[in-house]
Every structure is written in C-alpha cells, then in structure tokens.
Assembly symmetry: C2
Homo-oligomer: 329 residues x 2
DNA sequence: GCACAAACGCGAAACGTTTCGCGTATGCAC
DNA sequence: GTGCATACGCGAAACGTTTCGCGTTTGTGC
C-alpha cells in the first residue's frame, strides 16, 4: 500500500507538495503531471485514518434510527446516503430497534466512532440524556421525522397535523360522521401530532370525539388487522377508518378484504405511506404520502451547511405531505 | 477532548500503561483503579482514527447492496448490523440502486474508507472488475444472496432452486397443470436459480413448459400487477401463479383482488417473502420465506472468522427457505 | 541586467494511539 | 539478607497525513 511519501519520491517532490496537490492547491504544471503519474502508477489512495487524525474530521455521518427495514425509513436513508455521498461523506448507519438501552448505546457508539455529524430519528431519549451523551462533543445534529422536546437542533419534520386534518376532512366531505383512527404508540411524537390533526378535524366539523373509535398500539401489521376486528365488533360501527402508518394500513386493508367488506362502498379507508401499493388499485385507496426524498435531501442539506461552518440558529422545516392519488381532493 | 496522555498524567502512569489497560492487559490493582477513575473523570474515549492509523485496522465493515428500502434487504441488514455491533464492529452501508457505475464507485469508495471487511450483495459486476477494485487490498468478503461467477469468497445464499421446486410442486399437488411464474430480471442470479426450480418441478411432474406462462421483468410492484393482466388476457389462462419477489407478489395479489378474482378458488397464488402480510390473511397465501435473520447471522459470522484470522478455503452456505404458513405442505 | 514581489516547494512538527525492548520493582526461595 | 526469576511499567518510535513558516525560485518592470 503506497503512502504519500512513495508518491513524493517517485514524483521527485516533497510529501507536502503531494498533499497540496491532493487537497487542491496550486502547483507548477510539471509537478502536477509528475504527481498525477506517480499516483496512477502506485495506485495511491489517501489513508483516511491518517487524514482524519490530522485534520480532526472524518467526513463520516452517523444515522441513528429505529429500524432500517421499515420502507419509509429505508427510503429516507436511501436519499440521505445519496446526498452525503455526492458531497464526499459516507454514512454510518445504526438501528436501535425501538429499544431504549440500544438507543443510548448506539448513539454513544456512533460518537465514539468519530462521526462529524448526526442524523437522528429519536424515539425514547430525553433531552438530558441526549446532551449527556453528545454535549461535550457538540456534534452537529439534524433530527428527522420526530424531535426530542428540549433539544435545540435543526429538524426536518412533516406537517403531520395538517396532513391528517386534510385527510379526515376529506372523509367528512364524503359524508362520514363516525370516523375511526388507528395509530401507533401515543408516546411517539408523530402519533401524537397525527392524533391532533384528527381531533381538530372532527372538532372543526362539529363531530363529537368518541374514544372508542381511536386505537393506539404498535406501528405494525397486527395493529391494523386487529384494529379492524375490534372496530367492526362495536355496535355503532365506524363508516370510515383513518390510519397513520404503512404497516397498520396494510393490516387493516387485508382484514377488510378477508371479511368481504368492500372499500369504499362498505367502509371508507384513508391510509398512510403505502402510496405505491394503494394508488395502483383499481379504486385507488387514498393515502397520506410523506415526501421521503425531500426529507432526506433537506436533512442532508442542513447538516452539510453546519459542517461547512454555518452557525445560524436551529432551523426547522415542516414539509407538506401529499394526498394521493392527487385528484382525490 | 481528553487524550490518553491526559489520562496517564491524571492517573500517574505512562500512556503505554493506559493503552495496556484499555486493550485488556494485566496491571497492578492500584493502577487499574486510578486509570479507571481518570477515564471516568475526564470522560476519555479512545480516538478511533489514531487507533486505526496505528493498528492498521478500523473495525468497520462495508455493506454494499442495491437498495436498503427493500424489506428483504432491510431485514438482512438489520441482522448484520446487530451482529457486527455486538462484536465491536460498525457498519458502513452503501446502496448502488442497481446502477452499474454506482456499484463500482461505491465499492471503491468503501475500500478507500478503510473497511476491514465487506458484505456484498452483487448485481452487475464481473469478477475482473471486482478483483481490479479490491485485489490489491485483499479485503475479506462475504457475498450474500447472490454471487459473482468467478469470485472465490465466502458466500451465504438460500437454496432458491429447492424452495421454488417445493412451492411449484405444491401447486401441482393441488391439481394445477398450467402454472405461471412472474420473476425478476433474468440477468440476476436469484431469478435464474428460481427459474431453474420452476422448470425442474414442471419437468419432474411431466408438465410441458410453455414460455407464454413465464414473465420476467423488474423486481417491483408494477411487474406483478401487469403480469396478472397479461397472464389473464391469454386464451388458455393459468390456474396458478408463482412469484419470486416481495413486490411482485403484492402487485399480483392487488391486481387479482381488484378484478374480483378469488384466491385460491379462482386462481391459486404462491408468493415470495411477504410472510407477515400473507400469513395473517384469513386464507393465508402460501409463500416462500427466506430466513433473513439467519442469513445475516451466518454472513456476519463468516466475516468475523476471517477478520480473526481464519484462513480456510472459501465456504458457501445454502440456507433453506421455509414454506409459510408452515402447515401448508 | 538588476531589484523586488510573488509564487511555490520544503522540512519539521503535530495529530493520538499502539508496540517493542528494556529497565526497575516485586516476590520468592534459600 | 542475598540472588534470581518474574511481573510490570516506561520511553521512544512509528503509523500517514496536514499545516505552518521559511527559504528559494520565478517572473516582472525598469
């Protein structure tokens, strides 16, 4: 494995000149050429550890999230990865599986591994814990999708409340008065916000809230599947159901179909996230679609700004969701 | 940020003694204690770059794959990430989006970033290209899910042929003679193998192959959805359809349902991968289920063995898929 | 052809760790 | 109390890069 000294020797210059060449300095034309030749001949590559040690930065970005196998997160991470790579950063991905201890440990692990910046989808850490783990290292952070109350960092969120408000309002316009909701854990930021949109829409349309119509459990298939059964077992059934997550939506629709319940004739459903699946149906299921690409791009942009020295106050972006199919409203 | 020298000074020992402590050497009890105290007091953490520079290894593993947002890959990566973390490695994940140029670039990028080992789900690289990019660095590699012909590395695959053979045989046992298949691109390793299983099952049961019944396109929802339409538009329709991928399965089922085609009464379907969705249906859709956890664990184990010095011949494991729901056969 | 300014390249030091060989302290047996 | 073997800690060197200040070369204007 060739070093910068080997290149310098072969090119007949000093190591510092080669370094200057690599890092974009101005050199005499003849030196440029001989260095380029030497690098090619030796197949020289900069040693990233020596560089990081000296320069005190690694050009690596930590991404800490609950679960990379969830399609929404997967898509966001794809977008992040692409943006960072295009700017010469690489990504260290770490999943904590909605486990509090692991969320702590993996955050600590990323920091210990010398990340320059952090993309963080939090779940169960307090502001105190976050600062305890990161405070002394003051790593630029962008929170994505959710935020920890009391942590002042850049953040990229979606406008959960408005999106859900629109969706539920649409169901009202279609004539529904008994509209149920199946959501994820109430302790999670996004579930809370989405519930607020639901409540506000009901209230603005003069519909009384009935807590028998709201089911909060895990963000998974089973919650949607069993939620359907629980709601339909009631005497005064809902005529429409709104969901707040990909897996819940699929579980719900699957259960409805199995029971021979026609959508939307017998039961109206408004889904979340699974736009590819839902919009290709003959009678497309309307869904709230979060802009994964845009989320990733915005978050990566914020972080890169910070890494390049931007020192302004923390910024928060609320990206708008789209209702799909777009002609629905 | 405290260094090892600060710790040494505070503990009243030399830096080399602290290093010995950190790396598990044997020290006098009083030194152990004063060093531990100093580390706590200063919140000292090893600088990973200095360590990597000196020790010539980074404890980082590259994972190169097409698309992290696909649920199957996502699950495998979750398992890999967990195993490596438990052994003190972290993962550098890089997606190339089924793009040949990116597959090259990202491989090169990972190597340039000093990974100790590589987990690789290949698609479109030749053995020559692979060796050109990695040869001089001889990085321990485990190929997963697919392999490049001519690259001799450890590999973890599933027994695609047998799994599909079983699935198609099951359809035959149920009385089907016209069994269609919808698969991914024929150039991809897994699609090829799965097609072999399909052909062999037909042949073993004395069924003539009809190439109008085989559709090969992308591994996506649209392929399944349109595949249904194309197959059902034929004069001599299939009575059963077999798929080889998650998205294709969902597309196919969605299309069938929209047309009011009853499964399995009107059309029998055998799906792939989407076990969570399919087994929760009232009449569970049988699927081939790949053992994502086991794949990840086995691959991580192989790589860790190599990193710890194992020098045996390349090993290949073929893991068995399961037919779900398990009582199907 | 000379003087000066600008451009450019060089060497040394530093980043924070691990490793290696050597020297000192320790403990044991007599 | 002495001698020896062992255990332990120390200092120095090395990993490969970037950076900084200084000295040399180059070019320009007269």
């Amino acid at each position: 494995m060739a070093t910068i000294k080997d290149v310098a020797r072969m090119a007949g210059v000093s190591a510092s000149t080669v370094s200057k060449y690599i890092n974009g300095g101005h050199l005499r034309q003849e030196n440029v050429e001989s260095i380029r030749n030497a690098i090619d001949a030796l197949d020289y590559r900069v040693n990233p550890f020596a560089r990081s040690l000296k320069a005190q930065r690694s050009r690596s970005i930590g991404i800490l999230l609950p679960d990379i196998s969830a399609p929404f997160y997967g898509s966001v991470v794809m977008a992040l990865d692409k943006c960072f790579r295009e700017h010469g950063y690489h990504t260290l991905i770490s999943c904590y599986g909605s486990n509090h201890g692991l969320e702590r440990d993996n955050l600590s692990f990323l920091i210990t591994n010398g990340i320059d910046g952090l993309i963080y989808i939090p779940e169960d850490l307090s502001a105190d814990e976050f600062y305890e783990l990161t405070g002394n290292f003051s790593i630029p952070t962008v929170q994505v999708d959710r935020i920890i109350q009391g942590v002042a960092s850049d953040a990229v969120l979606v406008n959960n409340t408005d999106a859900v408000y629109q969706a539920v309002s649409l169901l009202v316009q279609r004539g529904h008065r008994r509209i149920a909701a199946i959501t994820g854990p109430k302790s999670v930021f996004t579930a809370k916000e989405r519930l607020v949109g639901y409540l506000r829409a009901l209230s603005d349309h003069g519909i009384l809230y009935d807590d028998a119509l709201v089911i909060s459990d895990e963000n998974d298939f089973a919650t949607g599947y069993r939620g359907f059964e629980a709601l339909m077992a009631q005497l005064d059934r809902p005529t429409a159901i709104f969901t707040t997550n990909y897996d819940i939506t699929i579980g719900l629709v699957t259960a409805a179909r199995e029971q021979g319940v026609r959508i939307p004739e017998d039961l109206d459903i408004f889904g979340f996230d699974c736009v590819e699946i839902c919009t290709m149906m003959k009678t497309p299921l309307p869904v709230v679609h979060q802009p994964e690409q845009e989320i990733g791009q915005t978050a990566a942009g914020y972080l890169i700004d910070r890494l390049e020295g931007y020192g302004g106050l923390p910024r928060t972006t609320r990206l708008e969701c789209r209702i799909e199919p777009s002609g629905t409203i």
